[in-house]
Symmetry: C2
Subunit: 388 residues, 2 copies
């Protein structure tokens, strides 16, 4: 399939796992891909060149944060988010909805959209499907997401149905707005990336019937590609895997599939096994800043006293800058002493681990041995306890 | 001159300015040189490879901090500070005295040494000339400093004389201890760098007579080289320049001269003009974290609202990573948003500016045009107001 500036080619399949290439106005992304989260126009603790070094081909920006500070108008005047932050590779932006639900004060939702107060200064804002599209058009990301309603978990079936149906109505409004933005008929909005794609989002909580209906109806609207939202919100991992596994068959084979906000390294492997192509998650970056490192032998908490005199690198089998140059003892000292270098070095390692896992996944798919990769990965990484 | 592992060769002189090469067990340093401050075993905000990229050939470690956390015993068991932090170039350590005077709680000084309580946990410690030498022997820096008494400014002549004389007595004890450490006759201390040099420190406040006496007597003890301490403590810049200018003639021509804790870029140029070879200062790194950038057109405060939509790099004539890839608008956003990336990017730039200034100084001396460099530098940089 191909749209203006946006393309996706499947190059290999292995069972339900897929390998491919996503093309955007800012270049190509090999999938399955993991997107580091660059909340406010920066992935916390690492420079852009460090991101490229660990293999990041695409990053995610948070529309809620960028809209509030420095503002999409200011970013549009700079030529868009790529120019503003100096990142020349692809960017995906979320709709802002998730942060409105999780961060903003006094939010109220009605059919029009989400009214909320800024967590920064208490100012009042209204985020509608149209505004979310407009803001992302000004940011000029390569992939924009529709505004969806984010339901708390657990939800009862009637509430989940109502929310899913509202998300569908919002998706239709978002698509109509996107078409107007592409036609140049929206006044006061600067479209800084004319090749921007728009992804629809499947909702429906943990109810298979709702997920099927949401997928069919969202696909019927016709987006460049589709995401699965409303997971990784507190449900058990096997429930998430089940919902992913029964949703992907309803999504077009020739479009990338994005599982939003997930997850652990094991979650990535299990979701690829069910046909997912794109991921984002704050886990590698946030946990790094809290001293938790993902390694090929399980997670370690670098602040643990047991590492005070441990001269080994965090992961002896890792080739990242941190593991090539730092011992656990030094990283523990930096963390204990409150040095921001600890955040940088830990983040570099965790992102390398995540992106290296994706490389391993892609290679395994290409060679038709994803199933053995998956088993070995769980044996080695996922089933190890923390600090084993 | 040459001692085991330590050497200094003057290669050029231009007026009183000197260019040379300092050799240590961990390699050579071109002088005049600026040492970024790596307080707790890391230069805050930048990785070692970033330090090397901006041209750092030697860094400074703070004995007070490293002694308290993680402790010199732990570092000695790791093989010394170089091995512990993974920095393979030269390191100079201070004696710990300055931080005892500025950071520690309830400090008392007597002839034996400085008694103080840790600012971390209130534990009681005694730092003597011998302990300062022992701790630095365990850290294994390439250059160790003697413990000196740090006098508050302003000081009356009798107090300044008494303090200078105590510093001399401490210097003799420190040298005796260093000889014992080199002879291997100090039990319980692991000498992790047998080629470590020891520098004496000239004191005497702003009194020329005391400075002369201190210099003569310190040189008479016989250290590998000499530092000027007790300046940059609040006295006017021209007073500091005068004291530097009248002290360096009393120091041996064939030994490097280190002006401790100084200073602004203009201070470096003026001190080189008076025969100084080595500098350290927290100004470029600390100010970076507070949003102040040194540029070839004067200092700018990146948090200033005037930069919100300024697409120029911090310093259009600078070749550092930050200036090559970031606008003032982006840096202001990162600072305003509280991103630690702001500290990293600002620190990279400021260190590049300082180290590039030193490169310019060295080149000017080699070509016999230091005086014109000095005039042009002040015209361009030092005399510009902030945010001009």
């Amino acid at each position: 399939m191909s749209d203006a500036g946006f393309d996706f080619e499947l190059t290999h399949t292995d069972g339900r796992a897929r390998r491919g290439v996503l093309t955007t106005p800012h270049g190509a992304v090999e999938t399955p891909a993991f997107m580091p989260v660059g909340t406010q126009g920066a992935v916390k603790g690492v420079t852009h060149r460090e991101l490229k070094e660990v293999g990041a081909e695409i990053i995610l920006g948070n529309t809620y944060h960028l809209y509030l500070r420095p503002g999409d108008d200011l970013i549009a005047r700079r030529g868009g988010l790529h120019a503003f932050i100096g990142w020349d590779r692809p960017i995906l932006t979320d709709s802002g909805g998730y942060q409105v639900f999780s961060l903003a004060a006094r939010r109220t939702i009605d059919e029009e959209g989400a009214r909320f107060k800024s967590h920064l200064d208490g100012s009042a804002h209204l985020l509608t499907p149209e505004r979310a599209a407009d803001i992302q058009a000004q940011l000029g990301s390569d992939i924009a997401m529709v505004l969806d309603e984010c339901l708390a978990h657990p939800a009862e079936l009637p509430a989940a149905r109502a929310s899913m149906e509202r998300t569908l109505r919002w998706a239709r409004r978002a698509r109509t707005r996107m078409e107007a933005l592409r036609a140049g008929t929206v006044d006061g909005v600067t479209v800084t990336n004319p090749g921007q794609a728009q992804f629809g989002i499947v909702q429906g909580s943990v109810f298979p019937g709702l997920r099927e209906e949401s997928a069919r109806e969202t696909v019927a609207i016709g987006f460049e590609a589709y995401a699965i939202g409303g997971l990784s919100v507190g449900e058990p991992a096997d429930v998430m895997y089940d919902i992913v596994g029964l949703t992907t068959p309803w999504l077009p084979e020739d479009r990338p599939r994005y599982l939003m906000g997930t997850g652990t390294p094991g979650d990535l492997v299990e979701s690829v096994a069910r046909g997912i192509d794109l991921f984002d998650c704050v886990l590698p970056t946030r946990n790094a800043r809290n001293g938790q490192l993902f390694t090929s032998a399980g997670r370690i908490n670098i602040k643990n006293a047991r590492y005070a005199e441990d001269d080994r690198p965090p992961d002896p089998s890792c080739g990242c800058y941190t593991c090539r140059t730092c011992s656990r003892a030094y990283l523990r000292h930096l963390f204990t002493a409150g040095e921001i270098n600890a955040s940088t070095l830990n983040t570099l390692h965790n992102l390398h681990f995540y992106l290296d896992t994706m490389r391993g996944i892609r290679d395994a798919i290409a060679f038709g041995r994803f199933e053995s990769f998956r088993l070995a990965f769980h044996e080695r990484v996922s089933r190890q306890p923390v600090d084993s």
